[in-house]
């Protein structure tokens, strides 16, 4: 019996998605509509919003207020940080990351995109593909989001005109091809009227595809679309030898989460970076034995041999090694308010490993509006660049394009302990 058959309730799991658009494209309205139409907008939230709408002199309830956040932002009337929202359809649970669209907030979009498996990119039907659309698409691509839905909104303001929709679609596809974005779907919407969000509405009969919610319900979950290699970064070693239970005296459990791939009892494994070998003796969670563990499952692995393993080590299957390296090339997004200083040393955290690192070279800085490569000495907040690092300790890495877990890292400034950079290994 496989691990999945033992799971008590089978549902369509969980989908994390991200919405992006320029200010006023209707992002907040769209999310509000999804929450509202899936009946997840709860009465007192509505109540508070109705009061705020009244105060602002709006006649109807403004759905976009649902997704607004903190006091300061509400006062300024803009969203300035990533917000997470939740809704469920019974079939599937959704986590929506809402990243604001202003130019200076590349950082937020990168953050929101890092955990998303699908991105909804909003376009105002009256405006078509804009610089911001390109920027959002590039970032979604850079962060490896496998599915992109281009939502052409405000169709009511262009009389639900099919030709407008087709023209925008053609424009987008032309530009997407230059980036190499693969899976793109298009959908015409009116977030305001709720057309094609959860209900089809009556005004877009020329569109035969699924509604937006239909797309979300059927979008593949992360990790299930292709064969992935088994990656298990060790988080914690369990050695309960002082326990009263003598049977536990020799217990050594390697605790972690399967970041990708699968593992079964009896599989031969390789421990990195030491390159020692062993075999999986048991897979456990809270006293229960499992025959297999699949991607995203947190488990404890027990091995046949007594191997010295500690936090930061990586367990893989023999024959499927990662690259073990003291030098990495990456696309780097700078998040810190203090610019990157190439003279300084930083800390890099990748999986459960941490190492000091020095910048070897900045290849180029990317103008994300034009995708032009520019020379750069330093990097400021929101800059994206190609850079290489020398590492004090080896890391076990895969290219980010192959594996979003083992290909990602963050850069930490040791003086402030702040997270100042996000990297995707090439």
């Amino acid at each position: 019996m496989s691990a999945i058959e033992r799971l008590p309730e089978i549902d369509n799991g969980l989908l994390r998605f991200l919405t992006c658009g320029s200010v006023d494209d209707g992002k907040s309205t769209l999310i509000g509509r999804l929450l509202y139409d899936t009946k997840a907008i709860l009465a007192d939230t509505l109540h508070a919003i109705a009061r705020t709408s009244e105060r602002r002199g709006l006649e109807a309830v403004d759905l976009s207020l649902l997704t607004d956040g903190l006091q300061a932002e509400r006062e300024q009337g803009i969203t300035i940080d990533v917000t997470y929202r939740y809704f469920t359809t019974g079939r599937r649970k959704y986590i929506v990351a809402d990243a604001p669209g202003h130019e200076q907030y590349t950082r937020n979009m990168v953050t929101a995109a890092s955990t998303a498996n699908l991105a909804i990119i909003l376009i105002d039907a009256r405006k078509g593909v804009l610089t911001q659309t390109r920027r959002h698409s590039y970032l979604a691509y850079l962060l490896g989001i496998p599915h992109i839905v281009v939502a052409i909104n405000k169709m009511d303001l262009v009389d639900y005109d099919q030709a407008t929709f087709e023209r925008i679609r053609a424009d987008y596809l032309e530009f997407a091809a230059t980036l190499g974005i693969g899976d793109v779907s298009f959908i015409p919407l009116s977030a305001l009227n709720g057309d094609m969000i959860v209900d089809r509405g009556e005004r877009i009969d020329w569109y035969q595809g699924p509604t937006l919610l239909g797309m979300l319900e059927h979008a593949p979950a992360a990790h299930c679309e292709r064969d992935e290699r088994f990656r298990f970064p060790v988080q914690f070693v369990c050695r309960p030898q002082r326990s009263a239970d003598l049977q536990l005296h020799d217990y050594r459990g390697f605790m972690g989460r399967v970041e990708s791939g699968e593992i079964g009892v009896g599989d031969e494994v390789l421990i990195l970076p030491s390159e020692k070998r062993s075999r999986v003796k048991a897979i456990e969670i809270h006293g229960r034995s499992l025959p297999r563990a699949i991607a995203e499952q947190s488990v404890t692995l027990l091995l046949e041999d007594e191997v010295d393993i500690s936090r930061g080590d990586m367990i893989v299957r023999t024959g499927e090694s990662t690259l073990v390296t003291r030098r990495i090339e990456a696309m780097l997004c700078w998040l810190g308010e203090t610019p990157l200083d190439p003279q300084r040393k930083y800390l890099i955290r990748q999986t459960t490993r941490e190492t000091r690192a020095a910048i070897e070279a900045i290849g180029y800085r990317l103008d994300i509006n034009t995708l032009q490569r520019l020379p750069a000495e330093r990097l400021g907040m929101n800059d994206i660049a190609r850079a290489s690092f020398k590492l004090a300790q080896p890391l076990c890495v895969d290219p980010y394009a192959d594996n979003r877990s083992t290909g990602a890292f963050i850069v930490i400034d040791e003086t402030t302990n702040n997270t100042v950079g996000a990297g995707m290994i090439l």
Partner: protein, 307 residues
């Protein structure tokens, strides 16, 4: 469009995914922090946290003690349950009480019976200093309240326990950054991504025991400002109040003076789930008297170091 192709590989159900993420977070705390602590109230969210900690660390012991900040305004069922559960798990429970802070003069009450939720911050900070904790694990969820929707999973607090929404670390992928200087600390929220419904579904699946006040029972209450106020020693009926004997249950547990029950006949977890799925009111608005004052009151309290 590949979005409609079949799924060749297995993936986790939503509860399994949430559970696994929470275990991962707990293990990151254990791996990154020198002296963490788990805040344990005896309420349902922290009971879920304890089950997750068992999943994360058994057969070992928890790599952190449990800490309860006792407001002195408790339902005794909850306190008894807290002690019972800690003992059952054979884990160390530390209790620090707001009463002691009042005696020390670090908490000054405006009136003797006022709600003590906000004063917990002071006692918590004192406990953090006393034990030198560098990370507090808590059961807060992002869906509880607007100010929490942007909360990080690893949330940074300065020396004064203050949360500055403008000065939070970027949190990407599942690469958490728990590094702090001495005196600063991290609040880690392993069930950030859970909703109230998820919590109840998990309680049902895992058969997690709860204090009795979560289930429908008869209780003397008065109606006040659209909410039910239980009649207790701390919250006696006032002249003119109409005391009713209603079937109620609590959706959160906390300070007696500001935690309201809801009318309900749900006396089993299955019935609670049914009610929760159908409910049209979010948890805090319905049951926390002190949150109603303003939409932004939680944000204000968080800035002051509230959990």
């Amino acid at each position: 469009m590949s979005a409609l192709t079949l799924q060749p590989h297995a993936s986790l159900s939503h509860l399994d995914w949430l559970e696994s993420e929470s275990i991962h977070i707990l293990r990151e705390v254990a791996g990154q922090c020198a002296n963490p602590v788990l805040l344990f109230s005896g309420g349902k969210d922290s009971l879920v946290l304890l089950r997750l900690a068992e999943k994360a660390f058994r057969p070992g012991r928890f790599p952190f003690p449990l800490l309860n900040i006792d407001t002195g305004h408790n339902y005794s069922e909850v306190i008894d349950f807290r002690d019972f559960r800690a003992c059952q798990l054979n884990e160390r429970l530390i209790v620090r009480s707001v009463e002691d802070s009042i005696r020390r003069g670090t908490v000054v009450l405006k009136s003797p019976d006022e709600p003590r939720n906000k004063h917990q911050s002071v006692t918590l900070l004192e406990a953090i200093e006393e034990f030198g904790f560098d990370c507090c694990i808590g059961g807060a969820r992002r869906d509880e309240e607007k100010a929490r929707a942007k909360e990080r999973i690893f949330s940074f607090r300065d020396e004064f326990g203050q949360w500055d929404p403008k000065n939070q670390r970027s949190e990407l992928w599942d690469l958490y950054n728990a590094r702090v200087h001495k005196g600063e600390n991290i609040r880690a929220f392993p069930i950030s991504n859970w909703t109230e419904l998820d919590v109840w579904q998990y309680i049902a699946r895992e058969q997690i025991e709860l204090p009795a006040i979560y289930f429908a029972h008869k209780r003397a209450v008065v109606r006040r400002g659209g909410l039910l106020q239980p009649v207790t020693e701390l919250t006696p009926a006032r002249a003119g109040d109409v005391v009713e004997e209603l079937s109620v249950r609590f959706r959160t547990v906390g300070d007696i003076t500001c935690t309201a029950p809801v009318e309900s006949v749900a006396d089993t977890i299955a019935r609670i789930i049914e009610e929760t799925a159908a409910t049209t009111i979010t948890e805090r608005g319905e049951t926390r008297l002190d949150d109603q004052t303003s939409e932004a009151s939680m944000e204000q309290r968080k800035k002051e170091g509230y959990f």
